[in-house]
Point group: C2
Chain length 322, copies 2
């Protein structure tokens, strides 16, 4: 399933439905050949108004790239992968019950897949990214929220009702902070951007070197940590330890061999990954950690487009698959 010795993969169009914009791009394997101008979601009142705009952009991209053979769309919600029906789209109105797969297949004549956006990102990292060659993989994004997706036994894992991979919701404290679903101790309340800044303020306060919230973003604290600031290093160590407990929970249950971490906070790289690995190893049997690779994601904001396109190729064009 690697592309190294294989002929160039076919062209596919990837679509990433975000809360603020819809991004489209023409992909060939790991390469994003061309990106279209993003379509601002909020300027259109729901699916009915947005779809023609998307279809027009698709038509423009196909004019330039007539070889486009399939379309993949990543969506921020539950997607019934078998039927293409979309449920509970986060931050985007008017999509409930829409069958995007059927709509786009009908209007473009191209085979189409619709998939959860975290799953699309996961697929990109497994198929062409930092998780290539590993078949038991969690890919996660660390940012305002914490999301993720799974490849198990070399296949994208979706779960009984297409909701799998909600790593940000797992509890690391059964009596802890209340999360968005009334759940106690949700991981994203301990390692997301907001909690990171709160923790950094606390650490600097405790060291009698108070800092503002503006000075305590993950990016700025990472910069100070790289310059050797011991307080900044301590903040990242504590966040790494919290994250390790969340990941250990997944590891004990799934015995993975790869964790790919992306999103804004992952830019701290070894400042975060070092303490994370160390704490995870101190908490688990070596048989679980010896083969485990914890790495920075290869793809950034484009992972959703690339993954959706790759899925479209692999699911819709089996004859051409390497």
């Amino acid at each position: 399933m690697t592309s190294s010795a294989a002929p160039a993969p076919p062209l596919a169009l990837g679509i990433d439905f975000g809360g603020t914009s819809v991004k489209l791009g023409v992909c060939q394997g790991a390469d994003l050949l061309q990106k279209a101008e993003p379509i601002p979601t909020k300027q259109f009142s729901g699916a009915k108004a947005l779809l023609p705009e998307i279809e027009q952009t698709i038509a423009q991209l196909r004019e330039k790239h007539p070889g486009i053979a399939a379309i993949g769309a990543g969506l921020p919600g539950f997607v019934n992968w078998e039927t293409g029906r979309v449920h509970a789209l986060t931050n985007v109105d008017g999509w409930e019950g829409i069958n995007l797969k059927e709509e786009l297949t009908a209007s473009t004549g191209l085979p189409t897949v619709a998939e959860n956006d975290a799953n699309a990102m996961t697929y990109a990292e497994w198929r062409y990214g930092a998780g290539q060659g590993r078949d038991y993989l969690l890919a996660m994004t660390l940012g305002t929220g914490v999301g993720g997706g799974l490849v198990l036994g070399g296949e994208l894992y979706r779960g009984a009702t297409f909701g799998a991979g909600e790593i940000g919701q797992i509890s690391i404290d059964y009596q802890g902070r209340v999360g968005g679903h009334g759940n106690f101790g949700a991981l994203e309340r301990y390692v997301g951007n907001g909690p990171f800044t709160d923790l950094a303020i606390e650490h600097y306060q405790a060291a009698n070197q108070p800092q503002t919230a503006e000075a305590c973003t993950p990016a700025l604290v990472a910069q100070r940590a790289k310059e050797g600031d011991p307080i900044a290093l301590g903040v990242w160590r504590e966040v790494g330890q919290r994250l390790a407990i969340g990941l250990a929970n997944v590891m004990w249950v799934l015995n993975l061999d790869c964790v790919v971490i992306g999103g804004g906070m992952a830019k701290a790289d070894e400042i975060l990954l070092g303490p994370l690995r160390e704490h995870l190893e101190s908490q688990m049997d070596p048989s679980f950690t010896q083969r485990l690779k914890i790495v920075h994601a290869r793809f950034g904001n484009e992972a959703g487009i690339i993954g959706a396109a790759a899925l479209a190729v692999d699911e819709c064009l089996p004859a051409r698959q390497s």
Copy 2:
């Protein structure tokens, strides 16, 4: 894959390697036709001495049941399911690196599978037990320890190094009690037999009705709860809530449609399962819990034998599979 309208499944021999004894039985689907006298593990010094004894018992059972067509063995440790090699057998000495699959195949001439014992139990509950018809299943045992196994997408899930399903080790408190692997907040330190008794003593103490540890076993507290004792009911409610957090962690990640609970503590049945379901539902999005079935295991101590035998039939005799 159900046996209802199918012809009677072939006979298979199931073996359950426990810490104190090796149990053998002749199975036909869900039915345990005959059990052999258990072989006490500790009377034999390791694999070399124990194997001939097992082989003799197998020969005796085959004399009575000449139709036995395959052998399945469940072992308390990591089993490389592809090669049959056994690693890190818990509580049993002298098995490191033994290839039980090859040994038994050679001595009996029958196709053999070796599998982790929790996986064998899980397979029994999925194939013939309380989880029949559900393809995203966690089966767990609640006793002195807490163990489990997974069926995902209709297949036994083993993980990258055959260690998956260690539900008892997942953390419900990142700063909590230290478990057997140096890990903080391991679920089995909150819901196992010992922690249950500790919690019951606390509850009765707090109500000024002190009880001894002997009076606070799960079985006795369940009996009092069934008789309406509000303190006993409160103990089970708290244990159910702790367990719910552990299960929610698995649900968020895997989006299962069935949890089967066995082991001594599961005998409390609805006294435990009621609060467990209630707390789980209060902590999760309905899309995760609507289709979720949480049920008492069908098989007791015999789950390991039945599951190992069923696996042997399904893995070794594909032509006869229903």
